[in-house]
């Protein structure tokens, strides 16, 4: 076969991947020394059906993994201490974590609340002769000093992001490993396909169906075979590059959606109750749009019903199909969504069009088609006066809420729901923190 031919990248490995071990649980163990050495789970809710979003190494050793619920966690690990998240603490840890890394280079990219990638080719310390491995050890020490003795990180170094991340996962917890052209084959030889970041069981099955059963076979596969036969897309070429230490992954994606989701403690199909939650989700969404000086051109509403415990992804803007498990609809609205009441009005309209066949377990409002609010680009045919007036009112309300605290000024239908939609911190989305 023909196709792209690349040798294994022999350049000096200058990409570093750093991740905080069991982030939320470790921060809890750092803050509370009675928890150190004990199994700890951080769960979205501490009720039996709340999902564990992080577990300490002690809990992981007893089988408490991401996604089990609190009842299962207690069965697997009697005596586990379950706590709900404390987002401000984790955000502070993220900031301190980043501050340590910025001492080495300004090319630091947060990948999530607990993961960073650094490119060190322009690091002043590297140019002065410090080795990348020495930097890794110094960073570990810096994080220990800044965040505390219970906090450890995994450091991986490689010629591209993929190999740096793979290296970071080789010796958890508290490892430091380097993968370069000299040990690449040996490293792959010791691993399973599922050990490769980005390879899930679905991809593994696909690779195996095409005769690729080990990372070494994956490495030795022809580019054209991966692109045309295995993945049937450019993804095959990206894997071909990635596995050899070349970089197909240095792309930053802009924000595409802003939204909020809420798991309802007392599941309900009462439209009045759902509307109240919808209003608060709309307010939170609106606050984030306005903070980022964005407006949205579309909105979607998603509800999961009580009978379905499985979470599934949604795409596009078409109506959802399986009405037994959930309902989704999204659409462009033909106007600018910026003010909370506009977001709420459209979300409410979507709710009214929904078939709520069972009590709602989880509900989310998402805005998409995001644009920067540009005062130079006024639409002479559109309702600019209306938009500007709504914008001024929303901005004024935000100023009051900034000064006196969130939800100091609220719409009347939110009056008796203090704190219902609680503060959360996402694993993947840290754009609001930058």
């Amino acid at each position: 076969m023909s196709g792209l031919k690349l040798d294994i990248n022999t350049t000096e490995p200058l990409v570093m991947h750093i991740d905080l071990n069991s982030c939320f649980a470790i921060i809890e163990q750092q803050a509370n020394r009675l928890l150190r050495g004990k199994p700890v789970g951080v769960a979205a809710y501490d009720t039996p059906r709340g999902f564990v979003v992080a577990s300490s190494y002690e809990a992981k050793a007893m089988g408490v993994k991401l996604g089990v619920n609190v009842a299962q966690a207690r069965l697997l690990c009697p005596g586990i201490v379950i706590m709900t998240p404390d987002p401000p603490k984790y955000r502070e840890a993220h900031r301190r974590f980043k501050d340590v890394l910025l001492k080495y280079t300004d090319d630091v990219t947060p990948k999530s609340i607990d993961e960073f990638v650094m490119h060190l080719e322009n690091s002043p310390l590297f140019k002065q002769g410090m080795t990348v491995k020495s930097m890794g050890y110094q960073i570990k020490d810096g994080i220990y000093q800044s965040l505390g003795e219970a906090v450890t990180v995994n450091v991986g170094i490689g010629p591209n992001r993929f190999l740096a991340k793979l290296a970071a996962g080789l010796h958890k917890p508290n490892g430091l490993d380097l993968i370069d052209h000299k040990n690449l084959r040996d490293t792959y030889e010791s691993l399973d396909l599922l050990d490769l970041p980005g390879i899930n069981t679905r991809y593994k099955r696909r690779l195996e169906a095409h005769g690729i059963k080990t990372p070494l076979q994956f490495l030795d596969a022809d580019e054209e075979y991966l692109r045309k036969r295995v993945f049937k897309s450019i993804v095959g070429q990206q894997w071909y590059m990635r596995l050899r230490g070349h970089e197909p992954d240095r792309r930053e994606f802009g924000r595409k959606t802003i939204g909020h989701q809420h798991a309802i403690a007392k599941q309900t199909s009462d439209p009045e109750e759902l509307n109240k939650i919808l209003m608060k989700l709309s307010e939170k969404t609106g606050r984030r749009l306005r903070k980022n000086n964005l407006y949205a051109g579309g909105i979607s509403l998603w509800m999961g019903f009580a009978s379905n415990h499985r979470l599934w992804s949604i795409t596009g803007s078409s109506a959802f199909t399986d009405q037994r498990t959930g309902w989704h609809h999204g659409e462009k609205v033909g106007s600018r969504l910026y003010a909370t009441h506009d977001i709420f009005a459209h979300a409410k309209r979507l709710l009214e069009s929904a078939k709520v066949v069972e009590p709602v377990r989880i509900i989310s409002v998402t805005t998409f088609d995001l644009h920067k609010w540009d005062p130079e680009q006024l639409d002479i045919f559109g309702n600019e006066r209306g938009y500007l007036a709504a914008r001024r009112i929303s901005d004024a309300l935000d100023v009051v809420n900034n000064r006196y605290g969130e939800f100091s000024v609220i719409p009347a239908n939110m009056m008796d729901m203090k704190g219902t939609i609680i503060d959360r911190v996402a694993f993947g989305n840290i754009k609001d923190m930058e």
Binding site: N32, L34, R91, I264, K266, R403, G405, E406, G419
Partner: protein, 97 residues
């Protein structure tokens, strides 16, 4: 969710100019006096304009954990969380949605 116990407490604290750090030193709560150990985690939050400092720390004997909050506007101290070694459960107020 984690809500504050928000119970007023008496705290003796000092400021160390060389480490440039405030150290809560002693806590008087529910009729008991606790000598406090080092700060294990410090972070800040804002409630509107009001800055709040949160100190997570244990007592010096290693038998209790506290999360204390200092309102930087009023200088009032409150206790937000506590836990004891013989009852391994963090206590904080919760509410149902």
């Amino acid at each position: 969710m984690r809500e504050s116990l928000n119970e007023p407490v008496s705290v003796v604290s000092y400021y160390n100019s060389s480490s440039r750090q405030v150290q809560p030193y002693q806590l008087n709560w529910q009729g008991q006096i606790y000598k406090l150990g080092k700060i294990d985690f410090w972070h800040k939050t804002r409630r509107g304009d009001v800055l709040i400092h949160h100190f997570s720390m244990g007592d010096i004997g290693g038998t209790a954990y506290f999360k204390l909050a200092l309102d930087a506007t009023t200088l009032h101290w409150t206790i937000e969380e506590y836990m004891t070694a013989d009852q391994m459960e963090v206590v904080y107020e919760r509410f149902e949605a």
